[in-house]
Symmetry: D2
Subunit: 333 residues, 4 copies
C-alpha cells in the first residue's frame, strides 16, 4: 500500500502524461469515423476525442485520468478472456488442437490458416477468437454468453458489465468478413453447428461495454495471477495464467506484436474501439482508451502512452534497469 | 554461489535428465544426414548421436553432461550476436530501418519481405540475419569477421573460437538460396555492395565452432545483462540487452516461436546443427546440443529438454509459481 | 451433310476410341466417391463407371457412343452459359467491371481476388461464376432461374432440362466454401443482397441435369456462333460469341487451362461431375462424360479423349496441318 | 498478292491509324525513363516518342509507318524464339519437364514456381525464359548465343541482327532480380551450372536489336507456320508451331494475357522496350513499337493499335464476322 505522498506523486505523473498527450493530439481515424459501428457522424466525432489512462496496482490502488468513466465496447480485448475461459473449460491440449499460439505476421482479419494443423494461427486473430468463443461451454447460446459475461465481470470486479445491443446489432450487420471466416472454418471442419450462433456469441462478447477503469482492473487481475486484487476472487486456474499472458505477449498487438514486445515489452491486447490493456505481471494493470487507430488497428495514443510508461518505470520485461522511476522523476522536456 | 551439496544435487538432476532423454532417443533426421554440410555419411551418422546439456548460472557455476566438449557450428545461433553487434554499432533506430522485429509466421529461409518498410521481417530469419551481418562495421571484410569473432569469444569467454573453414566452404557451395535472397534484397535496395562478400561474412559467422559448454556460457552472458559472468566483461551496451532478448523471444525459434513462448517461455535461439541457446534472465544460461531436427528446424531433444527444465524449475517468464524445484524434487515417473 | 458412308466411318472411329479408353480404365476418384453430392456409396460406384462420347457437327449430325442418355449434373459447365446470359443482359463493359477475364493460376475454389479491380479473376472460377449468376437479370430468384433454364434448354435444344433437386439440396448442404466466398465478396462490395439467394441461384444452375448428347449439342451451338444447329435459334447476340469462347479458352480448364490449350487447343469447360464440353468453332461440338477426376478437377478420360480427337483430326486452333484425318485413318496401335 | 489499288488502300488505313494514335499521345512512362537501361535522360526522352506500325502479310507484302527503321532491343519478345529453339532442340516432353505452359496470374518477374512440378509456370515469365535459354543447345556460351542470333535472323530475314552490347551491359548491371531468380532455381535443381553464364545468355538474347519492320517480319514468319515469307526458309519444325503460338496465346502478355485474348484474340508477345509482336495465323504479322508502358509492362499504344486492327479487320480468333474490312471502310469518327 503506497503512502499518501507516493500516491499523490503517481497521480501527478499520470496527469502530466495525460495532459501532454492530449495536447499533442493525434490525427488518426477511429473505427467509428471510418463508418463502422452504430455511431452516426456526430457521435463518432465526439467519441473520437475521448482519452483516458488508468493504472491499477496488484494491491488494488487505482490511478485514473481523463474520460475514465466513459463506456466503450471491449471489441478484440475480449478475445483474451474468452480464450482463458476455453482453456479453463477444456485444458491446454484440447484447445491447442483447435487454435494455435503462433504469431502469423497477418492482419487481424486474416483468412490464412495453419494448414499443417488445420486450425487458426492464434486466438488473438479474429479467426482464432471465433474458435475460442465457440469452445466456451454452455447448454445453449444464452448460457455461453452468460458465462462469458460472468467471467468478464469477475476480471473487472464490476457486476454491471453488459452487452451493448446497439453495438452488437451494428457489428452483426457489418460482419460479412467474420461470417465468411466462420463458413471457411466450418467447410474445413474447424467449427461445426450454426454459424450465425457462433458469430453472435463472438460479437456479443466484443460488444460488452467497459470503462477505462474497468479495463485497468481487468489488467491488474491478469497481473495478479488472475486473482482480482479488489474482490480477491480467482478468475482462471493458476496453471493457465502463463498461457494467457504468453499468447497476449506474442500475438496480442496484431501484426505489430513484435514491435510492441521490442518497444514496450509487456503482455497486452488492443481493441478496435481504441482500448489497450497492458499487464505488468506482479505489479499492475494499465488501461488506455483513445479511439484514433494506426494502420495495424492499435490506438495511436494508447501505444505511445504505454511506451512511455514502460520506458520511464523500467517495466520492459527484459529491462536491465529501471531507467528512472516515474514516481520521482521530472517530466521529460 | 551454491553450496557443494546443492551443486551435487543439480548435477544429479541434469544427469538424470540427460540419461532419460538419451535412452528415449529420437528418430529425427539431422542437417548433415539430409545431405547438407561437409560431412560424409559416416561422420554424419556419428555426429547424429551427439547429445549434451549445460547450465551456467549468472554467477558462473557450470553444470555439464554428455558430449559437452564436442565442437559444432553455431549456425543460426550466431544471428543473435551479429544483431547485437549491429545494434551496438548503429543504434536501435538505424538498425530498425534496415531490419524489423516482427515474427512473420514464415520458415527460416523465407523470401517474403515486410514490403511496407522495405526490409526483412526480423534478424532471426536468414534474410534479416544477412542484413544484420552486412551492417556490422569494419574497414574491410577481414575486420568485420574479426570483430564478430571477437564478440563471440567475449560472450563465450573463450579466446579460441574460430571459423571452421570446412564448414564454411560446404556452406558457401550450398548457399544458392541465401545467395538468391541477398540478390533479391540488393535488387530492392536493402543491401548494396558485393553479394559474395555479404554471404561469406554471414556464412563465416555461421561456421564458428563452439562446444555446448561455450553455448551455455554465451547464454549465461545474455542472462547476466550481457556481462560475461566468468570474465566480468560487458559484451553489449546495457540499453541493447532488452532489444536482443525481445527479438529472440518473439522470433528466435522460427515459425515455432509462439509455441516455444507458450511452452518454455524464455528467450532462445536454435541452429540447424542441433544447438539451442536459452536465456533465463538474471538466473542462468542453458545450452543443449542434439542434432536431430523437427519440421521447423529446431533440435527435437533440445526442445524437450528445455521444456522440461523450464517446467520443473518454474522458469517460464509468466509462471506464477515454481511448480516444484528441480534441485530437490524426485524425477518424474 | 456427310454421306452415309462417311457417317458410318465416323461412327466406327468414335466407337473404337470409346472401346479402347473403356478398356484402359482409369483409377481416378470421382466427385461423388469422394463423399460429395447426394449419392450413397453404391450409387457413387455405379456412377463412377459411366462413360460416353458425343460429337455433334455444326450442321446437326450427331455421333454418340456409351452412356449418352445417362443424366448428370452440369456443375461448372453451367458457368459458361450464365456468363453468356450476364453479357447479353448487361454488355461487355458492365460485366467486366464485376468479373475479370484473367487466368489466375489458382484452383477452382480460390478466394484470391483481383484486388486492383476489386473483382474475381474470371467467371470460370467459383467466385466469378457466383458473380455472373448474380448479374443475371430477373424480377425475382424464380424468374432468374427460369431465364437460366430457358437459355440452357435453348443451347441444348432440349425443352425437358430441369434442376435436379436432390443434387441441389446436397450441394446446398455442402456449400460452406462457396458461402464463405460469397460473404467475402459481399464484405468487399462485389455482390450485395441475400447471400443464400445468390448461392441457391448458382447451385440450381449447377444442378441442371443433362445427358452427354445434350452436352455435345450445347457445344455445337457454341461452335455454330451460338445458333443451335438443330433448332436454328440464336442463343446469344453475335457480338458476345467471341467473349464466351475467349474466356473458355484461357480459363475453362481451371489451373490446367494452359496445358489444355497447349495439348488440345480448343475452347472447353469441364465440370466436377465428369463432363467436358469442347468447341471446334465452325465445325463441331464435343461432349465427353466420365466421372474419374484428375488433381485439377477435370475428367481424366475426358481430357485424354479430347486430346486424341484433337490430335487425329488436326483440330488444334494453331495446328498447321490436319495430321491424318480421323475419318479415314486406321486406329493407332 | 494484292493489287496496287488494295495496297494503296491498306497503306492509307495504317497511316490514318498511326496519325490518330500519334496525335492522341500517351502519358505512360517508358522503361528507360524509369531509370532502367543505358539511356541517359535525354536519350530516354527522345526514345520515348518513337512510334511505328508495320504489317507484313504471309505472302510477304509489307506496310510500314512511323519510325520503322529505329532499332530497339527485343527484350521479352525474344522469349518466344528461345523457347522455340529449346523445343526444336529437345522436343516437347523434355522441355515441359523443365518449364510449364500455364498462365500464373503473376507479374513478369514473379518468383513463385509451379511447386507440384518443380518448374517455372511458363516460358514467357522471366523465370521460365531463363530456363528456356538455358536449354538451348551449344558447345559453349558463344555457340549458344550464335545459334540464337541465327534463328532470330532467320525469323526476321535480316542477317544484320546483332546483340547491342550497351544494352546488354546495362541489363547485366541491373539484373539482380533475374540473378536472384536464377539462384533460386539452381537451389531447387531447376537449372545447374554457372548462373552468370545463364544470365548473360538470356540478357544477350534480350539485347538483340530489331526495327519495327523486323518485328513484323518475325510475326509474319510465325503467322506463316514458321516459314519466313520473304526468304522461304523454315525456322521451326512444323510440329512445334502450334506449341509456340499456344504459349504466346495464353501467357504472352504477362498478367494481362486473358484481357488481351478477350479484346484482341491473337497470339502475341510484348517487350519492355515498347514492342508488341502479334500473329494472325495464315494471314499476317503485326509489329508495333511505342515505348510508353502500362502497369502490366505492355506498350500502351501498342495494345490500342492492335485492338483496333483486330476489331476492324475481324482478326479475333473467335470472331464470327469480319465486322467491317479495314481496307475498304472509312476511319471511325
Amino acid at each position: 500500500m503506497p503512502t499518501p505522498e507516493i500516491s499523490r506523486r503517481i497521480n501527478d505523473r499520470i496527469e502530466e502524461l495525460y495532459e501532454r498527450h492530449l495536447r499533442e493530439g493525434d490525427d488518426a481515424v477511429s473505427y467509428y469515423e471510418s463508418g463502422r459501428g452504430y455511431y452516426g457522424p456526430e457521435l463518432a466525432a465526439e467519441e473520437r476525442n475521448r482519452f483516458a489512462i488508468c493504472l491499477v496496482s496488484t494491491d488494488g490502488e487505482a490511478y485514473c485520468v481523463g474520460d475514465h468513466e466513459t463506456p466503450f465496447a471491449l471489441q478484440s480485448i475480449s478475445k483474451v478472456f474468452a480464450y482463458g475461459l476455453a482453456l479453463a473449460d477444456h485444458g491446454r491440449d484440447h484447445v491447442l488442437k483447435h487454435v494455435g499460439v503462433e504469431p502469423s505476421g497477418e492482419a487481424f482479419n486474416s483468412i490464412v490458416f495453419d494448414e499443417r494443423n488445420n486450425r487458426p494461427y492464434n486466438p488473438m486473430l479474429n479467426a482464432g477468437a471465433l474458435v475460442a468463443s465457440y469452445l466456451v461451454r454452455g447448454a445453449d447460446p444464452v448460457e455461453k454468453v452468460e458465462r462469458l459475461l460472468e467471467i468478464l465481470r469477475g476480471y473487472a470486479g464490476n457486476e454491471s458489465l453488459q452487452v451493448d445491443y446497439d453495438t452488437f446489432e451494428a457489428e452483426m450487420s457489418a460482419a460479412d468478413h467474420n461470417r465468411a471466416t466462420t463458413y471457411l472454418m466450418r467447410s474445413q471442419g474447424m467449427v461445426s453447428g450454426d454459424v450465425e450462433e457462433i458469430l453472435a456469441m463472438y460479437l456479443k462478447q466484443c460488444s460488452v461495454q467497459v470503462t477505462c477503469r474497468d479495463l485497468a482492473v481487468m489488467a491488474a487481475t491478469l497481473a495478479n495471477g488472475c486473482v482480482n486484487p479488489i474482490t480477491g476472487e480467482r478468475e482462471l486456474p493458476r496453471r493457465h495464467v502463463r498461457d494467457l499472458l504468453s499468447v497476449m505477449h506474442t500475438c496480442g498487438m496484431y501484426d505489430a506484436a513484435g514491435q510492441w514486445v521490442f518497444d514496450v515489452g509487456v503482455p497486452a491486447k488492443s481493441g478496435v474501439s481504441g482500448g489497450i490493456l497492458a499487464v505488468i505481471p506482479g505489479k499492475m494493470g494499465i488501461g488506455v482508451f483513445s479511439p484514433g487507430l494506426d494502420s495495424h488497428g492499435n490506438s495511436v495514443r494508447g501505444v505511445r502512452v504505454c511506451e512511455e510508461i514502460s520506458e520511464r518505470l523500467g517495466l520492459h520485461m527484459f529491462a536491465t534497469e529501471a531507467e528512472d522511476a516515474m514516481i520521482g522523476a521530472a517530466p521529460p522536456g
